[in-house]
């Protein structure tokens, strides 16, 4: 997700469109990315965090979180 202090023009455009489409009460929208990785059991959490921090996300502008889900 874009960091809170980083401008998110895409999220703002979505937020501006919602009232026009008749959806009220939505104060703000932030737009980010979601990756699904299929991994085997040998890939530990530290490796996943390294993948997120060094490649999938740009920590200069984005916060990230890794969540492991059983198939």
């Amino acid at each position: 997700m874009p960091k809170p202090e980083i401008l998110d023009p895409q999220g703002q455009a979505v937020a501006n469109a919602l009232p026009r489409l008749g959806f009220q009460g939505i104060a703000s929208v932030r737009q980010g990315k979601h990756f699904e990785l299929e991994v085997d059991d040998s890939v530990d959490d530290a490796t996943l965090e390294k993948i997120a921090e060094t490649f999938l996300a740009n920590p200069v502008i984005e916060d990230w979180v890794v969540r492991r889900v059983d198939a």
């Binding site: 202090e5 980083i6 023009p9 740009n58 200069v60 502008i61």
Partner: protein, 225 residues
Amino acid sequence: MSVRVGVITFPGTLDDVDAARAARYAEAEAVPLWHGDPDLKGVDAVIVPGGFSYGDYLRCGAIARFAPVMGSVIEAAGKGMPVLGICNGFQILCEAGLLPGALIRNSGLHFVCKDQWLAVENNTTAWSSRYEKGAEILVPLKSGEGGYQATQSTVDELEGEGRVVFRYVGDNPNGSRNNIAGITSANGRVVGLMPHPEHAIDALTGPTDDGLGMFLSLMDAVVNA
């Protein structure tokens, strides 16, 4: 002595031909460098040109920074080699950590393609010494993700150290913080900017020849080194 300027081509690079032409206009020898080859071929400086390396997949520049040639560029930059990143090249240098901050989607969401006035704010870098401080130059801007963003502390540091090299004149075209169009590394050797000086080196083919000064500046930096 002949100055050798490397110009990198990645899959999806568009402006390597014009960057090489700009180097030749400044009477340098343009040396083609290939993304998959870590050999910098003994060049004196490197230009990372514009385009859409790797289709802008993941983030602009995010995949290009891991190309074999970039490992060599990062190492050479660490030893003081002049490096210029234009447009996608600027995005790649930010992703590679050679310059601080990042470029995001234009605030207006539209791709911007126009001739843009820039003010030269720092004429002490390897790529801007031929300009007068405060000079205004007209060069093309063509990008969809040209909004310069960084944390407040980074912007304060860049401003405090005079590391903003070019600033947009007039309306902010893409939502860049502080109208920043181009910045430099702490040692003034690495410069990145979103607009395209390599497209403005001859009035026959560009809006002006204002961009040529960047490539002539490099010649001074290399010859006087």
